[in-house]
């Protein structure tokens, strides 16, 4: 018989062991899936590895995908810290893309050093306002934010459809739903000769900025404290409602920036295929990283590598892109189950009676 005992002191290496265990377990399951599809599992995983880290261009791809993931996850994590369940990064990403596109299409002749800041500001405002809707509904009408943010995701994606099929449609696109391509001033430039763009540096700045905000400002401290829940916050005389609005607008704004970066630097126009689920992967990243900014950078890199590696498998082995999503789900489920061992341990129980 096994008995559950609470640990007297936390397991020092526990979090890392659980994380690595989850990674290993997801690889095992994906090997089984590959075998089930009649592919050689070992070869498949080699292709996955090769696609993620095997070449310089693969690494560039990974960095490219880490950028939107990092920004979305940072936003999600800020809200989760306050126990606000913002599942709406996907929609806020879409609104950011819409805001940026609006500027790019309205002022195509502006030089980059004016137009790009305008796009980023508008993306933050759009993403932030989109996130303020569920915040307002939660505070004033006690509407569950999980569902409202999710529903707004669906609405946001349809809003992109509406725009690219309608008012913003490129007349020369032969009926394809997309806006005209952005002018040079609306595109975030690449770093040197690489495919990686300056958004990477922007991410670093945002990450450090957020860390400093949390660490050194009173507002940041209040935000941390109210993570313990609305009641604790009230005891500490914290304006809970105002903090929720602040956190949600930051959260949505970061996701909006991710949408701006992707539209501007990667796709160069607004089109429905822009939406590839970064907002949902961000939830996985944020939770794996235990909501810590530095860990988020690491976890975004890792999950971006998974996405890029799966793209390689798609090309070489005709594996559907959903393969990566399955692995994300398994990693998250395993980490959740494994966290049990951080606070409890199983002991052999001797029969006493």
């Amino acid at each position: 018989m096994l008995k559950i005992r609470k640990r007297n002191e936390p397991w020092k290496w526990g979090a890392l062991v659980v994380f690595l265990g989850a990674l290993l377990f997801s690889l095992l399951v994906s090997a089984l899936l590959l075998e089930g599809q009649g592919k050689d599992a070992l070869h498949g995983l080699m292709v996955l590895w090769d696609g993620s880290f095997g070449h310089l261009w693969a690494l560039e791809g990974v960095l490219l995908k880490s950028i939107p993931l990092f920004l979305c996850s940072l936003g999600v994590a800020v809200a989760f810290r306050m126990q606000i369940w913002n599942i709406g990064a996907e929609g806020q990403f879409a609104l950011g893309a819409i805001g940026a596109t609006w500027m790019a299409l309205s002022f195509p002749d502006l030089p980059g050093f004016i137009l790009l800041p305008l796009m980023f500001i508008m993306a933050f405002v759009f993403g932030g306002l989109w996130a303020l809707i569920p915040a307002f509904l939660k505070l004033k009408l006690r509407v569950n934010e999980i569902i409202s943010t999710l529903m707004l995701n669906y609405i946001a994606i349809l809003l992109i459809d509406y725009l690219v099929f309608g008012v913003w449609k490129d007349p020369s696109s032969f009926g394809f739903p997309m806006t005209p391509e952005f002018t040079a001033g609306a595109i975030v430039p690449s770093i040197g000769d690489s495919r990686v763009h300056w958004g990477l540096l922007f991410c670093a700045a945002v990450g450090i900025g957020l860390w400093a905000f949390m660490r050194f400002t009173r507002l940041g401290f209040e935000l941390q404290a109210s993570g313990e829940g609305a009641r604790v916050a009230k005891y500490a005389k914290i304006r809970y409602g105002m903090l929720v609005m602040l956190v949600m607008s930051m959260s949505g704004g970061f996701a909006g920036w991710a949408g701006c970066v992707e539209t501007s630097a990667v796709v160069n126009r607004l089109q429905p295929s822009l939406m590839v689920g970064y907002g949902y992967t961000a939830i996985v990243v944020a939770w794996l990283a235990r909501l810590e900014p530095l860990n988020i950078a690491f976890a975004s890199f890792l999950l971006a590598a998974l996405r890029v590696g799966v793209e390689n498998m798609q090309l070489e082995l005709q594996i559907p892109a959903a393969f990566g999503v399955i692995m994300e789900g398994i990693i998250l489920l395993t980490v959740l189950a494994g966290q049990f061992f951080l606070t409890y341990k199983l002991e052999r129980k001797l029969k006493q009676d």
């Binding site: 005992r5 529903m151 669906y154 393969f323 489920l333 189950a337 049990f340």
Partner: protein, 305 residues
Amino acid sequence: MWEFLIPLFAATVQSGTPVLYATLGEMMTEKGGVINLGVEGMMSIAALAAYWVSLTTGSPWLGFMAGGVAGMLFGALHAFVCVSCLGNQVVSGLALTIFGVGLTHFLGVPFVGLPAPGFNPFDFPLLSQIPVLGEIFFKHDMLVYVSFIIPILFWFFYKRTSLGTHMEATGEMPAAVAAAGLKPIRLRYLSVICGGFLIGLGGAYLSLAYTHLWTNGLSGGRGWIAVALVIFAFWRPGRAVVGAYLFGGVMAFQLRLQAVGTNLPSSLLLMLPYLLTILVLILSAWRGQRIDAPAALGTNIEPEG
């Protein structure tokens, strides 16, 4: 007028049916004290399982059951993570949706577009002869008729049987259930797994009766709508029926409007069900949603020692 309304109401019943199954499934899960946000993923994978079994065995009924079993398996996984391992219920449900939707897309590739045997509408003997009501309620497929009985059974189970009472109590006060010498952990597992079965049936309806075809993204947010409807229904089966048909109505209306060909762009019409979900949540919050929620909803049972 009637030529437009009667088919609209009939279509309302049909498109409300999968949502009704899923809403009751989620309600059962939540009555046991567990939030399951995996509904969308469970409906997707159940739709695929049902379609696949129906295609290979030629029996839609086996397919229907397979959908239920797929839902049960996912429910068991959720229960393992949250009830046994004390994982966060919200995050586990989200992970389940990510996993389920991914798995569906992955495994569903070879089936896109192949027609499978499903359930066809037929006139229910005698009852379909009733004017107006017969036209609306009794010219459907068998699974719609099954869905008429389930809310009644659901109500009976929780109000009149001791197992139902015990299961409901684990959502209210698990400690009291344990003190009474019952096993709250086991009862929670039962709620999540049986709820998963109903959710799976809802998914099965989509591929077997709603479309007869396999396409990706068949669920289209219905799983989330079901989660919202449980709140709207104040955890009561009767109101779940009202909510599900409300949604069925909007979906049917929106489809009909598109078919007639209006000036409104289809993307705006497609937003209607999601907007309605938010509206419905606002309306239910107005009346004080927390009053009727199971008291221990979302909290895990800590082990002793």
